[in-house]
Amino acid sequence: MSSKAWDKIATSIFGAIAFLIVAILIALFGYILTKGLPVVTWDFLTTPSSTVRAGGGIRDQLFNSFYVLFITMIFTVPLGIGGGIYMAEYAKDTKLTGFIRTCIEVLASLPSIVIGMFGLLVFVNLTGWGYSIIGGALALTVFNLPVMVRVTEDALRTVPRDQKEASLALGMTKWHTIKTILVPIAFPSILTGAILASGRVFGEAAALLFTAGLSTPRLDYANWNPFADNSPLNVFRPAETLAVHIWSVNTQGIIPDVEQVANGASAVLVISVLLFNLAARGIGALIFKKMTASK
């Protein structure tokens, strides 16, 4: 066969591969949404889940997911931005910097179940907290930190050198330059990265199984005292998140409407992650527009 014919065959194979991947995505989303959306009613979102009977909702799981995410970001954002600033502005080309880079690489590539096991060892057993929101959030922080550091470092590195040098030439100190020039310019990218990372945290389950637990105590949403046992705001209570709930109803649950609940929960989870992605693009672009003269 001539090389031209081979070229045609190869081209169509690559086209077929691309088509297959798009088809897989459409099939996955089509399945999740067509099966899940009919289940997602206001009732489903606002009734507590049941461990034995049919008809349970996902109220507590949904709240837990957002709350764990919120606590995680309280730890991750300042630490990640600090680490990113260090890597971009302070780290000299030494062995120590190389070692920190290796550490970031290791943390980023650790399987989430391993981080969950570490969390079980340290944040659950060693501290004596038991399964708790704060333990889960700390485990997720370990899991999320490298992403945040990388995002911040990359964002700071794309700030034009001129702007930094102009600030230093005016006699501003280094930290002041970072605080008032570099970080604000890099802010839209950092925010985009943070929201994307939130999406990842929102869907994470393996790291939470052994840290935040598989159960939620009976919650009273009128009780806002963060130290009360039945308060949703208490960070020392166990909390089953939405992603963990999908896993546990499928593998450990005995409720008769497993598939219904899992379908609905999957749809909510996927739509939330989708919204995180859209928000990341939208908000980043919006802030960039507000802060700069570009149209």
């Binding site: 591969i17 680490g83 096991m117 393996a206 992603a243 999908i246």
Partner: protein
């Protein structure tokens, strides 16, 4: 208003002091953040290392037997702890899913960079981002409700199988493979392509003989990163693989991996018991493998020519 009473010189000194303090504070903050990353990594290694060695040191389990024996019977009269079926399962799903994801992923990358750079990328880029965005439990759940019954009815076996785990994992690692391969191919200098076309090579010849060879170390990195992800994935695999303790004899047999056994049994065993300790030893294997993957990727990137 107090500032007004100070002389100009005092104010300057004061602000200088403030600045210096600010400077020091800033440096302490970012250095502390960097140190926390080091300490987290070291803490994970030490804690999981010592806990994972406990079953060999405290309980006197033979490490060689643990890795090579196929007999896993933790609750019997004469308990035996051979983790080989799970180690085998982990490696099997990892390699098999890489075998599927590598050609598909690199093919898609070639489509995006070489065949249809203008519109191919516009379509596939968001597709990849959406695939990344689907949480692993959702992949597992769809595998459980769609793939497992499909395999049971059309291919044979009970559906829960090595094959089901492989398919789920290969879709999950596809985005990793595609995005890194795309970067690798896109960063190749254009004169490689032009030189090849000038010699009269067709596009396929250019891709096969020039571009793939030049990008090989980076493409391998993409596949290895995908494999690292597959090796550590827990819940999605656990939902479809069947979790049996026997060594699978075919790809349609149910099987188990290190991660699935840890997920399944961590909650059911007493903390500190021998069976529980062996789970930590499996966790240590995961940690060691994750180091091994990093070392391998470093080796590959040192071989990158362009």
């Amino acid at each position: 208003m107090k500032n007004k009473e100070l002389s100009a010189q005092d104010r300057l000194i004061l602000s200088k002091k403030n600045r210096r303090l600010d400077e020091v504070r800033g440096k302490i903050y970012v250095t502390a953040a960097a140190l926390i990353m080091i300490s987290a990594t070291i803490a994970i290694t030490i804690f999981l290392g010592s806990k994972g060695m406990q079953s060999f040191i405290t309980n006197g389990l033979n490490i060689f037997e643990f890795i090579t024996s196929t007999d896993w019977n933790p609750v019997g009269e004469n308990p035996s702890f051979g983790a080989f079926p799970f180690i085998f399962g982990s490696f099997a799903v990892t390699f098999l899913s890489a075998l599927i994801a590598a050609p598909l992923g690199i093919g898609a990358a070639i489509f995006m960079t070489e065949i249809a750079p203008s519109w191919g990328r516009k379509i596939l880029q968001p597709v990849i981002e959406l695939l990344v965005g689907i949480p692993s439990v959702v992949y597992g759940f769809i595998g459980l409700t769609v793939l497992v019954p499909f395999l049971r009815d059309n291919i044979g076996g009970i559906g829960f199988s090595l094959l089901a785990g492989t398919i789920v994992l290969s879709i999950m690692i596809l985005p990793t493979v595609i995005s890194i391969s795309t970067d690798a191919l896109a960063s190749l200098p254009n004169n490689l392509r032009e030189g090849s076309y000038a010699l009269g090579a067709t596009r396929w010849q250019t891709i096969r003989k020039v571009l793939l060879k030049a990008a090989m170390p980076s493409l391998l990195t993409a596949v290895v990163l995908g494999m690292a992800r597959a090796f550590g994935e827990a819940l999605a695999v656990q939902m479809v693989i069947g979790n049996v303790r026997e060594l699978p004899s075919s790809i349609l047999d149910a099987s188990a991996t290190l991660t699935t056994i840890i997920t399944l049994n961590m909650g059911h065993t007493t903390y500190g018991s021998l069976e529980n300790n062996t789970l930590w030893s499996m966790g240590l294997i995961l940690l060691v493998m994750s180091f091994a993957f990093i070392l391998f990727i470093r080796y590959l990137s040192s071989r990158r020519k362009i």
